[in-house]
Every structure is written in structure tokens, then in C-alpha cells.
């Protein structure tokens, strides 16, 4: 501390207002970094009022046990020697459980300042906390603050600076004397290298048989045996195991402290309980949930969000251009209508304050600057780069709206209730109650859907949800479905109305089937995640945290996913515009005598031919079908447009019967056509969603697993459709029919077999436990 730099660690339970405090004192200029080894976020930032103070926001935890990655990384940081002082944030409305972590943090021997947050709520409830007495009992300063109302923060940090100068003391609180005796003995057996203020902490950890601490201390064999003997004797005396003894002692100390320091007002029903009575009501709970989710979906995806996204895609970034505040739009539309076939000659700028689309503007600027109209540079910039960025930006408004609402639901406490209500349904598939929201959002757009998985704390659940959520057909896949329906049935409007839900069922089946299969694999093996969760009291979120929440998520998407999508779009542009024609390689549209269908000669066509054998068992082995799938990766709605250009049907739309016929002509059978559709709906999503998946997985390996699984699953389903169509309708039987049957049996086996032995089940444990009891 020679340079008077102070490192402050912020510790506390989840939902104690730690993040609100962090954002308040640092002005939220923090950056998010990963702890080495585990994907747990820590945030670090300088204190606004004093740049010499660095604040580290630890993950919200309940204990310093060695079992969860969050708890492990918190204690590793606390014991690392970096923090000079710990601010232990305590939810003053829930002293008992919050003090449990506080005691453990105090035991680390670091200087601690306890910040009793939500002081305003305590006052409102009519409770009284004697901070002086509490401070004496805990052996560290205790300050009342309200992070939400910005009260007591200045005083808190004056105290923090004072405490940082101190060395830290041996904790004040004492357990039962019989336990203290044992702890004393263990302390005496600790090596001399353990400093005085840390001896207590390690004594307790050795008592608990904490594996990490044991490894760190590395006692000699005799001493380890001596300690084990002491602990075993104590366990026998107390008729309980070491962990339970310590936990019991801590809660005992707390009960004592609370008795003396807290005066509770007579209990009355809080607003939170009143709200909860209604929203998680046994009968009303589900309907209310459906209504709330419908509203979120309706606003973010269908109405407002959809409008803004269309505007961004077609007018701001597209070629349409727009009118400031819509002035002149009607006049222009009327003029276009009147002009009929000459619509292109109508100058939109005549009818109001017109701003051309960015694509048009860039194109015009390039041409004015002397670039060849429609040439290489023009095409790369407009069709490649601007279109690529536009594809990303189009999702931002929807995502913004969605995150505004989801972050609100999360911050106010409703999300925990959603998990409570939906858990029953989802855990059967190896998912949790919180997986519902991402799936729902994905039916609008996969990008915010994948991003919404951020609210799932558990890593396994989150990964499983990320992997499966894009199976649900998103809005951009609807044109593909319409095109398929048109090609198969010849009518997209009436019959498609009942057939398109089939593709939703396919999506839902893919999610459920994948969940059931994946949870039995090594990837997701191990104990099922316990779903023991606090249901925090409802409160109106701090506007600041709420806004920050939204901003962080949107920005993370723009920044990280943006680079991936951007690069990918340019690559696809290159692949489809470059190729060899007449023996020379180059930019195809500029070549002499090349036809409109220059893509036939592109690198994409070559690659398509190279890999099309993969799709032969699915019934579509032409390079065009492969190229369509590749264009689907840029954006799923591209499939229809690309089909139009590849099949030379000008200005094709999914409702165009000439496209249906041409499209159907690409496939030998109807089965192949449906297989193609199923493959494209289930395989890797568009680059934007893949960028989001990469972002959420935060690991190249898991990203590869997710995309690989999705493509493999889509291929297998496509195979089933084509082969079983051939077998059942056309009566053909061949090698691939056998493969399909084998795969189907394997899939059914994996879905219906019981959980394998290596996975832990509650049943076994309960049986073992009851056996032990009866013995």
C-alpha cells in the first residue's frame, strides 16, 4: 500500500443491493472480466470520488463453501492478499441469513466494514437495529446505508479508508466452548507460516475438512492425523458431522446477536407478500404469467420492436430511405402508386424531408467519388459491409425493448417467480424454469432469445438452453415455411395455416428430445442442479441499475457478435461474387460475357459441389440447395431471396407460385423438399444468433459443440424425413434406410432410457439415507 492505492472487495448475498451500490459508487465505468478457470464474472472499477480506490464486485454468494464456482472464486480473491478491506453488504431486512456470510468473511481475518443496506426499508417496516451493539458483537465497524437512495455512502467510504489502514483482527465472535477447544487445538497444529489473523479461518476450514484449504495448508502426516482425530471425536460428541456443527454454531452466534441488536416491529403482511399472493397463486399464477409473457413478446417482437426493426432494415440501412417524422410519406406513396411501372422515376426528395437509406447514401457517395457503379468496391461496401452491419443493427432495437422489459422483470423479482411456476415443466428435459423465457423470445428472434439466457445463473442449464433454444422457429424462418408449403401443396395461404404449426411442433420436439438426450450424455452428466432458490421480496428496481443492465447487454451484443457477423457476411459476399469463369479467377459480375447467373461459377458453387454429398442421403445433393443453406446462415430470410436468384425467378417472394414450382423442381421428391426445410429450420441459426451463442457460451469449445450438435441433429431429422418418406410412400429401401432406422432406434433409446448410473439421482440418495436411518 506504499502508493496509497486501496483495493476494496464488495461481498454479499445475491439480491442484497451489492450491484446497485457498485454502480452508484463507481459511476458504472467498470469492465467485465473473467476469472481464470471459471466463467464467473467479476467487475472492477475505480471509486468515483477517489481514483486511488479500486472496487472489486464479487459474485453474489451465500457462503464461502468450496462447492460452487462463485463461492470458490470469491474466497480465492479474498485470500489472494489483494484486497485491503472488504465491504460486506448486508440486506438489513434479512439480517439472519445475511450475517451468515458476514461471519465467514470476518473469519478471513481481513479488515471488514459491514454496510447495512436498505436502511430505509428497515425504518419503514418499523424495525430497529442497534448498530453500535452489532459492531461490538461482530468486532468490526457497521454502517447504515441505502444504495437506492444514496444515503450514508460518503460515511461508509471514510470508514473504509480508515479500516484499510488497519491490519485486520482476529474475529470477535465465539462458538460453543467445546468447539472452541477443538479449534484451538487445530490452530496450534497449523504451521507457523500462517499469519495470526488468518489462523482462525484455516482452523475452521480444516475442521470442516475443506479440501481446498487442506491442500493449501498441507499439514504434515502426523499433524493431519491429529486434526482428523480431534474432528472425529468432536463429531461423535455432537452426534453430527463437522460441516453441520460449524453451520449450526454460526447460526447460533447469529441468533444471539439478533436477540440483542434487532427489535422487530409486530409482523404485518408486506406489500411483497400481497403481490405474491396473487401472482404465484395456485390458480391465477399460470394465467397471469401467460399474460405478462404475451405482453413482453407482443411489444418487443410483434408490434413496436418489429416496426423499429423493419425501419432499421428497410429504410435506415436498406434502399428505401425515410422521411423525418413520416412527413411526406403519404404523398410519396401516392405518387408511386400513380406512376405505376415508372415508380423508379419518382424522386422521393420532392415530397418532404427525405433521408436516403444508408445503402443508397453510401452507394451514391462512392459513385460520386469516382467508384465504378456496381463495381467491385461498390458491391463489397454496399452488399457486403453495409448490408452486414445493417443485419446486426436491425436486431438492436428489438433487443433493446426486450431487455428493458426482461431486465425490469428480473430486477423487480418476478423472474424468480417465473422459474418457480415453470420449473416443473422444464426440469423433465434437463432444463430449468428459467429456460422458458429464452424459448419464448426465440419464437420472435433467436438473437435476443439466446441473449436472454443470461438470466440463468446455472452454467449447465444455461448451456443446455443456449444449445436448444434456436430450434424454435424464429420470425425469419416463416418465409421458408411458407415457401415449403407453397411448393408442396401449392397454396401458402389456407393450408399453410394448419401446416406451419407442424414446424413449431418440430421445433418443440427438437428442444424436448435434445434436452432428454443431452442430459444423459457426459457433457451434462453429474448431479442435477439443485433448484433451491431464494424468492426475493419485490421492489421497484433502481433506474440506474436497470438502465445499465439493458445497456450492458445491448452493447455486448453489438460489440462481440458484431465482429463475428460482420466478418462472416463479408466472407459470404466474397464466396458468392468471386470465382473462375473461362479460366480466369476474379470478381464475377465484372467479367466479359458472363450471364446473370454468375453464382454458378462462384467459389460458393464450387464449395457447394464439394460438400453436397453430405446432403445426398437427405435427398438434395445439388450445389444450389447447399448454397441456399449457406445463405440461410447470413439470415434465414435470405433463403427465399437466394432461391429466387439461383432459380432465376425474378423478384421472387415466398407467395409466388412460379417460385414454388421452380423450388419444388430442385428436389427429386416431396420428402427431400420437406427434409430440406427441416434441415434449414433446425441447423445452425443465422450468423447473428451464432454470434450471440458464442457470446453466451464464452468458450470456443462450447460454441463448437452447440453449433455442431444443432447441425448434426438437423441432418439426422432431415435423413429421417427423406428416408422414411422413400420407404413408406415410394417403397424404396437402401443403405441409408438402414442407417436411418439405426439412428432412430439409437435416438429413441437415448430419449427413453433411464438416467445412467454415473449421474446422481435423489432417489438413490434418499434410499441410502433411509437405509442408514433404519440401520
Amino acid at each position: 500500500m506504499a502508493d496509497s492505492q486501496i483495493h476494496v472487495a464488495l461481498a454479499g448475498n445475491p439480491n442484497c443491493g451489492k450491484t446497485t451500490l457498485f454502480n452508484l459508487i463507481t459511476g458504472a465505468n467498470g469492465y467485465v472480466g473473467n476469472w481464470p478457470g471459471v466463467t464467473v464474472e467479476k467487475k472492477e472499477a475505480k471509486l468515483l470520488s477517489d481514483k486511488n480506490v479500486t472496487i472489486t464486485d464479487l459474485p453474489g454468494i451465500y457462503s464461502l463453501s468450496p462447492y460452487s464456482p462463485e463461492e470458490q472464486c470469491s474466497r480465492d480473491y479474498l485470500m489472494s492478499g489483494e484486497p485491503d478491506v472488504v465491504v460486506q453488504v448486508v440486506d438489513a431486512t434479512n439480517l439472519e441469513r445475511n450475517l451468515y456470510l458476514a461471519l465467514q468473511v470476518i473469519e478471513t481475518g481481513l479488515p471488514v466494514v459491514v454496510a447495512l443496506n436498505m436502511a430505509d426499508l428497515v425504518e419503514k417496516n418499523g424495525d430497529k437495529i442497534d448498530t453500535d451493539k452489532l459492531s461490538k458483537k461482530l468486532g468490526c465497524p457497521v454502517m447504515m446505508i441505502s444504495a437506492l437512495k444514496n444515503k450514508g455512502i460518503k460515511e461508509l467510504f471514510e470508514q473504509v479508508k480508515k479500516s484499510a489502514a488497519s491490519k485486520g483482527e482476529v474475529p470477535e465472535h465465539k462458538f460453543d466452548s467445546s468447539i472452541e477447544d477443538v479449534l484451538d487445538h487445530i490452530e496450534n497444529n497449523l504451521p507457523a507460516s500462517v499469519p495470526a489473523n488468518k489462523r482462525r479461518y484455516y482452523a475452521v476450514k480444516l475442521f470442516e475438512r475443506d479440501a481446498d484449504a487442506c491442500k493449501l495448508i498441507n499439514l504434515t502426516k502426523e499433524k493431519a492425523a491429529r486434526v482428523e482425530e480431534l474432528v472425529a471425536q468432536c463429531e461423535q460428541d455432537c452426534d453430527d458431522d463437522a460441516e453441520s456443527i460449524i453451520t449450526g454454531e454460526r447460526y447460533g452466534v447469529i441468533a444471539h446477536i439478533i436477540d440483542e441488536c434487532l427489535t422487530k416491529a409486530p409482523a404485518k403482511m408486506s406489500t411483497s407478500e400481497k403481490i405474491d399472493r396473487v401472482v404465484t397463486n395456485r390458480i391465477l399464477g399460470l394465467p397471469i404469467f401467460v399474460v405478462i409473457m404475451f405482453c413482453v413478446y407482443y411489444i418487443a417482437v410483434s408490434t413496436l420492436g418489429g416496426t423499429v426493426t423493419d425501419f432499421t432494415n428497410d429504410q435506415l440501412f436498406g434502399t428505401d430511405g425515410w422521411y423525418v417524422l413520416g412527413q411526406g410519406r403519404d404523398a410519396y406513396d401516392a405518387a408511386v402508386e400513380a406512376a405505376g411501372d415508372d415508380a423508379d422515376s419518382v424522386d422521393p426528395a420532392q415530397y418532404g424531408p427525405y433521408v436516403p437509406g444508408i445503402t443508397t447514401a453510401v452507394h451514391d457517395a462512392l459513385v460520386a467519388g469516382g467508384t465504378e457503379d456496381g463495381g467491385l468496391v461498390d458491391s463489397l461496401v454496399c452488399d457486403g459491409i453495409v448490408a452486414g452491419i445493417g443485419a446486426i443493427m436491425g436486431f438492436v432495437p428489438q433487443m433493446f425493448l426486450l431487455f428493458v422489459m426482461l431486465s425490469f422483470l428480473e430486477d423487480c423479482g418476478y423472474m424468480a417467480r417465473v422459474a418457480f411456476i415453470m420449473d416443473r415443466v422444464f426440469r423433465r428435459f434437463g432444463l430449468s424454469g428459467k429456460s422458458f423465457i429464452p424459448m419464448l423470445v426465440t419464437s420472435g428472434c433467436g438473437v435476443p432469445g439466446v441473449m436472454a439466457t443470461k438470466t440463468i445463473e446455472n452454467e449447465k442449464d444455461r448451456r443446455m438452453t443456449v444449445m436448444t433454444t434456436t430450434f424454435i422457429p424464429c420470425g425469419a424462418k416463416l418465409p421458408i415455411i411458407a415457401l415449403l408449403m407453397g411448393s408442396i401443396i401449392g397454396d401458402s395461404s389456407t393450408t399453410a395455416a394448419w401446416i406451419s404449426p407442424l414446424f413449431y411442433f418440430l421445433g418443440v420436439f427438437a428442444v424436448i428430445g435434445s434436452g432428454l438426450m443431452l442430459k444423459k450424455t457426459k457433457l451434462f452428466a453429474g448431479r442435477p442442479t439443485p433448484f433451491v432458490m431464494e424468492l426475493p421480496a419485490y421492489h421497484f428496481p433502481a433506474i440506474r441499475s436497470w438502465a445499465l443492465h439493458v445497456w450492458e447487454r445491448c452493447w455486448a451484443f453489438i460489440k462481440k457478435a458484431g465482429t463475428v457477423i460482420f466478418a462472416s457476411t463479408v466472407v459470404v459476399w466474397f464466396l458468392s461474387n468471386f470465382g473462375s469463369y473461362n479460366g480466369s479467377f476474379g470478381y464475377l459480375p465484372a467479367m466479359d460475357g458472363i450471364s446473370e447467373e454468375f453464382m454458378d461459377y462462384s467459389v460458393l458453387a464450387m464449395l457447394g459441389n464439394l460438400v453436397s454429398w453430405i446432403f445426398a442421403p437427405l435427398g438434395f445433393s445439388t450445389w444450389q440447395a447447399t448454397a441456399l443453406s449457406v445463405s440461410g446462415l447470413v439470415a434465414k430470410e435470405n433463403v427465399v431471396a437466394t432461391a429466387g436468384s439461383l432459380l432465376s425467378v425474378a423478384d421472387a417472394a415466398e407467395t409466388d407460385p412460379s417460385l414454388w414450382t421452380a423450388f419444388a423442381g430442385m428436389f427429386p421428391t416431396m420428402g427431400a423438399c420437406v427434409a430440406f426445410g427441416a434441415f434449414n429450420l433446425l441447423c445452425a441459426p443465422c450468423f447473428a444468433a451464432m454470434g450471440a451463442i458464442r457470446n453466451q457460451m464464452d468458450s470456443g469449445k462450447w460454441f463448437a459443440i452447440a453449433i455442431g450438435y444443432e447441425c448434426a441433429f438437423a441432418w439426422v431429422i432431415g435423413l429421417f424425413i427423406n428416408q422414411f418418406y422413400n420407404l413408406l410412400v415410394l417403397g424404396q429401401f437402401g443403405f441409408w434406410t438402414v442407417v436411418a432406422i439405426v439412428l432412430l432406434v439409437a435416438m429413441l433409446f437415448q430419449i427413453f432410457r433411464p438416467m445412467p448410473k454415473h449421474a446422481w439421482t435423489d432417489e438413490d440418495e434418499t434410499n441410502a439415507a433411509s437405509a442408514a436411518v433404519s440401520a
Binding site: 451465500y62 457462503s63 463453501s65 462447492y67 460452487s68 434479512n94 439480517l95 439472519e96 441469513r97 451468515y100 453430527d240 460441516e243 453441520s244 453451520t247 449450526g248 447460526y251 405474491d276 404465484t280 397463486n281 395456485r282 390458480i283 399464477g285 399460470l286 424468480a416 422459474a419 418457480f420 411456476i421 420449473d423 416443473r424 415443466v425 426440469r427 448431479r527 439443485p530 433448484f531 433451491v532 432458490m533 431464494e534 424468492l535 426475493p536 421480496a537 435423489d762 440418495e765 434418499t766 439415507a769 433411509s770 442408514a772 436411518v773
Partner: protein, 73 residues
């Protein structure tokens, strides 16, 4: 053995012993579910599982499956 999962909505009881082992058991203990702790089952989710209990002055959601390791009076 009567477990937490067997306690009816609106009823209170006291924990006798935590069975099981490892992360789940420790997590339950850290949340304050230890020998001698009294609690009340506040409600059950619309689909019958999980249950919400009030313990040590706060609300906790726990699956019946996991509640099975908590032996009660």
C-alpha cells in the same frame, strides 16, 4: 421418515436432520436449513412442485425432490 416435502401448505414444522451429501446438502445448510430450524410451507407452485417455504424470515423455493433430503418432525 417424514420429510419437508410431506409438510402440507400452511403447516409449520422443525428440521430434524439433513440427509444426503455434498453441494446440495451444504447449500441447504448455508441457506439456514439446519437441525432445529423451524419453517412454514407457504405455498406450492401452480403445477404442484416446487414448494415455497418461509425460513429465517425469508422465502425459499425448493423442489419436492430436494426437499426429500430434509427430515422433519
Amino acid at each position: 421418515m417424514k420429510t419437508l416435502g410431506d409438510v402440507k401448505v400452511g403447516e409449520s414444522s422443525t428440521i430434524v436432520k439433513l440427509h444426503g451429501e455434498g453441494a446440495l446438502r451444504r447449500h441447504l445448510m448455508d441457506l439456514g436449513l439446519i437441525k432445529g430450524t423451524s419453517f412454514k410451507v407457504v405455498k406450492v407452485a401452480p403445477l404442484g412442485d416446487p414448494v415455497e417455504i418461509n425460513v429465517r424470515g425469508y422465502e425459499l423455493s425448493i423442489r419436492k425432490e430436494e426437499a426429500a433430503v430434509v427430515e422433519v418432525q
